[in-house]
Subunit: 412 residues, 2 copies
């Protein structure tokens, strides 16, 4: 399949990148805004996510109904998501509808932000936060990040809290918007069946009045320390626990080794942790993942189990992790299996233009560089047992933050 | 992209079908067993799902560790799932590993079913059932199906209950297995980069000792009646409700119109129900789906909301559904939007061989026929406003079963 990478920077600083594939049946396009919970001031916690909702509430040219109806008219699979590090608006469409999808996405990124819509949407956000208590995994993970990144916005809740969202004003949101949604803080990524020159021309016209703002991100982060917290909630019927500790960041060349390491140790369906805890039926679920952030990174482990087995499952999870770091006895066949699994996953994801669009855009945010699928697989396949052992020395799963949530109290 | 459909029946009754695509980067294969909760006797409820777990516990040629390790060696994205109507074992791999994936899947479908493994795995299943109380949506949906299909196995819980799983014996499972996992009750579906002749040869060798059993499915079902139930659980913080009523079945030509109708009325992100309930922030989520079964079918609606708004949300959901059936005022542009959305969805799903493999296998189970992606889209695009209006007369969302689950009691 002949793929070509294209890259163009508009005069206002907005970047357009694409991987064009004439054999594709669909086209995907995404506006990647480099802003998220980590770019918020504490009193504004949740503004990035709330703003994402507001983007669908209408523009000078379109009402909210128009936006929704027009996306539906072209049959778009469209959505948006907000993380700690980026806010992404995307659509996957049949190729003939790409120009209309781009026009819609570009238009909604200059929203009306009407005060009455803002007040109405606030209720939707508060409802979403209200679902928290029925989602033990959200509570666990948010508490873990709050503790792991104390006084730092990487520990903020993406949804915000009841208090911050209630107190947020439309004026504060508009200020945040003008600074963070500037032309120089956005990358448009596209993949699939695409006419790149036409795409650039469309975007140039659409964004002719967008200005750069010189928006920056703060990278100072507190050092990780050992820390634990136990939360008791008598309403729960299972016990949940999670752990976080330092790992390579999203720019670090060691990230490929970290992916392999996390797969060997913590793949949810076949790994040392799986065999120790899930296969014998001691835990419902247990895994360890590599979590790369912009200039920060970590590993996160998770398990859920019968509350009566909480202490035993935690001890075994920690023992499995510690033995791996201490012994470094990772075998070549474990490495090969992990690499084959990861190569299959990345290939499967790349079979759809939407998957490539997402990879391209996210990679550009972190590295300002393009890589073909083959490049990525080559770098993954080059990881050796020595690379993994070296990484265990450099990041020995310590210091660590542990959070527990279950019906029975457990002393810290 | 040149696609070719291939189809071969082995002498033992096992069917092999494939859609071959030389341009694909992966290959996908699945063993589709026509058995699930609806084929169980009441005391054995849960045996299909439990048996699915046992398939990964080893064979005469392989231990459980071997199975897991060998799938990992070839980097397979593999899994299995059990529904009311089928149990499917599948793998997606890089094309060079397809023969090994087929060998593994074929081998695990003749499992050792050792009694000690059975007793150990029983704990895993009971843990899975134990997670129920923290999953209000599972409880809601299972209760809905139990009421909608009273005394009928389409109302059984796929996981079974604590009681049925505890009392199940390995001998009962072996009997169920020999009858339901026969050669004539299984279809192998494959898609992607595949050498069909080699695939058939491999499967023929692998299944040479598999026998037909003449396994049948019972199709009698109780007539739907109006019925309601309210469950109170003080531990919940949100209110949940669901509704089920008759619709076309999986063989019915009206299923295309039913998909369009369900999208117009109940798409979770843009539909009459969405605009009535979710957009104004009254419900967290609300949708209506078309649920086709083998010779049975229905529509299912769902909403969750603040418990204080339970009565209001339910009234509005029912009013929206009833007005749609009564007025039949569906506009041409609503129909066009729904069709474009559904066409995009099916195209996106088809871009990955795994998606085609799943469509092919499921379609064969219901219809013993093949359709290209283009055929499917053509039939979808042929749906007219008159088709939808006619369907509303024939299936007017009545009689209906309603289930509520929340912290506050509501009288039935």
């Amino acid at each position: 399949m002949p793929l070509t990478f294209k890259n163009h920077k508009l005069s206002n600083g907005l970047r357009v990148i694409a991987e064009c594939n004439d054999a594709a049946h669909t086209a995907a396009v995404g506006f990647f805004v480099k802003t998220g919970a980590r770019d918020e001031d504490a009193p504004l916690m949740g503004v990035s996510h709330f703003l994402e909702h507001m983007m669908f509430k209408g523009t000078d040219r379109r009402s909210a109904d128009d936006v929704n109806r027009e996306f539906d008219e072209i049959g778009a699979d469209y959505n948006a998501y907000t993380s700690h590090e980026q806010t992404v608006y995307y659509a996957q469409v049949l190729p003939e509808y790409l120009p209309r999808a781009v026009d819609l996405l570009g238009d909604i990124l200059r929203p009306a932000l009407r005060t009455d819509d803002f007040e109405m949407e606030k209720n939707v956000i508060l409802e979403e936060i209200g679902m928290y208590d029925d989602r033990p995994q959200w509570r666990l993970q948010d508490t873990l990040l709050e503790l792991y990144f104390p006084q730092h916005p990487l520990g903020f809740r993406v949804l915000g809290t009841n208090d911050t969202v209630k107190q947020l004003t439309a004026e504060q949101m508009r200020d945040y918007f003008s600074h963070r949604y500037s032309a120089d803080n956005i990358v448009v990524s596209a993949a699939g069946k695409i006419d790149f020159d036409a795409l650039v021309k469309d975007i140039e016209k659409l964004t002719s009045e967008w200005q750069p703002s010189g928006a920056q991100r703060r990278y100072d982060a507190p050092p990780a320390v050992d820390c634990e917290r136990s939360l008791t909630d008598k309403k729960l019927s299972r016990h949940y626990m999670a752990l976080m500790c330092p790992g390579p960041n999203a720019q670090d060349d060691r990230r490929y080794a970290a992916k392999v390491l996390a797969d060997v140790l913590g793949d949810a369906e076949g790994s040392r942790i799986y065999w120790a805890l899930v296969d014998p039926g001691e835990a419902d679920e247990a895994d360890l993942s590599f979590i790369p952030y912009d200039q920060a990174g970590g590993y996160m482990a998770y398990a859920s189990c019968d509350p009566d087995k909480a202490a035993q499952v935690e001890a075994k999870l920690l023992a499995t992790i510690d033995a791996f770091a201490r012994d470094g006895d990772v075998a070549d066949d474990e490495i090969e299996r992990a690499k084959n699994k990861l190569a299959t996953q990345v290939t499967l994801q790349s079979e759809r233009p939407g998957g490539r669009m997402r990879d391209l855009g996210t990679r550009w945010q972190y590295l300002q560089a393009y890589a073909t699928l083959e490049d990525e697989i080559e770098r993954l396949m080059a990881v050796s047992g020595d690379d993994v052992r070296q990484l265990l020395v450099e990041f020995p799963f310590s210091p660590r933050t542990i959070v527990r949530l279950g019906p029975n109290g457990i002393a810290d």
